[in-house]
């Protein structure tokens, strides 16, 4: 156990807390978009796969990295598009908005 690992653990725990606090406030209405959004965000594993695919360390790493880049890109591209598509559908009732005014 070195210092870097401890700092990483800090980051993990604090990010987990932030996630917990933020996500408990997401209304059930948006639970499906939430799921596709977290999916898209976790495609950030691209940062790992890009290095594996491009560092030219050995053939195995390059090939596995290439497949990983492909899968992660599918999620990044498809995930953000579909989240946006869903969020675009949620619309206010014009009558309700007028009543509030």
């Amino acid at each position: 156990m070195n210092v870097t690992a401890v700092i990483e653990l800090y980051v993990f725990v604090l990010a987990g807390f932030v996630g917990f606090l933020v996500i408990t406030r997401v209304p059930p209405l948006l639970h499906t978009p939430l799921m596709s959004a977290t999916n898209a965000i976790s495609a950030i594993s691209l940062v790992g796969s890009l290095v594996a695919a491009g560092a030219d360390r050995n053939t195995v790493s390059t090939i596995l990295g290439f497949i990983a880049v492909t899968s992660a890109t599918i999620n990044a591209v498809g995930g953000f598009i579909i989240t946006d598509r869903m969020l675009k559908m949620f619309r206010h009732d014009p009558k309700v908005t007028e009543a509030k005014k």
């Binding site: 790992g48 290439f66 890109t73």
Partner: protein
């Protein structure tokens, strides 16, 4: 050095944008913009990574990015809202696969170069590969069950739980062994294989109606696998994104299990709905239902002041959400009011009914959560139940022997009258009789939900 600083800066920007993006989802109005910023964060992080000093050749990277975009784009643009649960399940497969493969590549490279793997690093790699691999196959099974090329019924056999626990224990054993002897490749690949098998066996006995919990749980595991990747390669943005994903999936699983009044363990190992316990649930013997004609149902709806629609998975199967909206518009034209009561586990994933109805252009102000709307049923003239069953079964309230006893339900039975749209008198997924269907105030409209609704719309128009 400056280059390294720049890369870290892009990761910091990405992390902040991700958190802000998720925060924007707490308000419907800001959600879209926030998620677009999160997407920008992703682009920034990818650009930063491409400058990484270790990256020396770009052909495989470019190929992966292009192929991934070509597959990902149609998965984002063309998948219908009714297929959203499958879509999410398959994306967990891709996400977890990426994490797993990065872990395997990292392990292979370290051994290949003769580097000594420290226990902390091995622990990260182990978690990454374990969670990743079981999520890949587990989510694929969930995808298969939702897409219906694998039976949605629970598959059970004698000694199943013992066998699953045995396999999981063996995988953990390999993991423990690797912490001490990280150089023993065979053990690593056996662990990988066991995790793949465990994922299949874990989801095999879980029925279709429990899929909201499975999908949420897989969401959480995919996140934890990403986080572990971050630990393995020392990357903070991965740790953060993975932790957010893990927390989200975990919270959703808890909400889902609460809404079913069941524990995680019960869902994972209980094989709910495989065989109704003999004599436990009430049977329908001696009870009769009252069918209603489309004409009579239309008349009742046309003159109702408050109609509450209770949608369930059957609505998604029949793809009848647009017909629901048409009917609702007609009722509103006649001076009535229409609201929608959404149970947390209606459908096959969290929030499934909401996206479906939003797709049909129904304003979200009318989509009400269970707790929000239950007190309104006493003023409701007609509760219109479309393809929902267990979530409106009063047995959950008053029949202690029922398997769903204690589950919070939508109080449709408190409405002045109830119209149930149903294909046939087959009991619901859990194989439990629903006494709501036999109440004097309940009428049944038999037939496919879409056809019935289309005919109802035509009838109400004529009135």
């Amino acid at each position: 050095m400056t280059r390294e600083l720049f890369i870290q800066a892009t990761y910091l920007v990405a992390s902040v944008l991700f958190i802000l993006g998720l925060r924007s989802l707490t308000k419907t109005d800001s959600a879209r913009r926030g998620m677009q910023q999160a997407a920008l964060g992703m682009v920034v992080a990818v650009v930063g990574t491409l400058l990484h000093h270790e990256i020396v050749r770009y052909e495989w990277i470019v190929a992966g990015l292009i192929i991934g975009s070509i597959i990902g784009y149609p998965l984002g643009v063309y998948v219908p809202m009714t297929a959203m649960p499958q879509r999410i399940a398959i994306s967990h497969v891709f996400g977890a696969l990426a994490a797993t493969l990065v872990g395997v590549a990292e392990y292979y490279t370290l051994l290949h170069d003769g580097t000594i793997i420290e226990p902390a690093k091995m622990a990260a790699l182990g978690f990454e590969v374990l969670f990743g691999a079981l999520t890949v196959t587990g989510s694929f099974m969930a995808f298969g069950k939702l897409q219906e090329f694998i039976t949605g019924r629970p598959v059970t056999y004698a000694g199943q739980n013992m066998m699953n626990l045995g396999i999981f224990a063996a995988a953990l054993g390999c993991f423990g062994w690797l912490l001490v002897h990280p150089e023993q490749q065979a053990v690593f690949y056996v662990m990988l294989g066991l995790a793949f098998v465990f994922g299949i066996l874990l989801v095999l006995p879980i029925g279709g109606a429990d899929m909201p919990v499975v999908i949420s749980l897989m969401n959480s595991y995919a996140g934890l696998a990403s986080s572990a990747t971050g630990f393995a390669i020392g990357n903070n943005v991965l740790i953060i994104a993975g932790a957010l994903d893990g927390a989200s999936g975990f919270i959703l699983s808890i909400i889902m299990s609460k809404a079913m009044n069941r524990s995680f363990g019960n869902i994972l190992f209980g094989a709910f709905g495989s065989a109704p316990a003999a004599g436990a649930a009430k049977t329908a013997e001696g009870l009769t239902v009252q069918p209603i004609s489309v004409e009579d149902a239309a008349l009742r709806l046309a003159y109702a002041r408050l109609v509450i629609v209770v949608p369930g998975y059957g609505l998604a199967v029949a793809q009848a959400q647009h017909q629901v909206r048409e009917l609702a518009e007609l009722i509103e034209k006649n001076g009535g009011e229409v609201k929608y009561a959404i149970h947390p586990v209606a459908g096959r994933m969290p929030g499934h009914m909401n996206v479906l109805l939003a797709e049909a252009n129904i304003p979200y102000d009318k989509l009400k959560d269970m707790e929000e709307i239950n007190h309104e049923f006493q003023n409701c003239d007609v509760a219109l139940i479309i393809g929902a069953n267990d979530v409106v079964n009063p047995a959950a309230r008053n029949d202690k022997s029922s398997p769903i006893y204690g589950m919070p339900i939508i109080d449709a039975d408190k409405a002045h009258s109830v119209i149930v749209m149903k294909r046939s008198m087959n009991p619901g997924f859990a194989g439990i009789e629903n006494e709501l269907f036999y109440l004097p105030k309940t009428s049944l409209l038999f037939g496919d939900a879409k056809t019935s609704l289309t005919r109802l719309v035509a009838e109400v128009k004529n009135n």
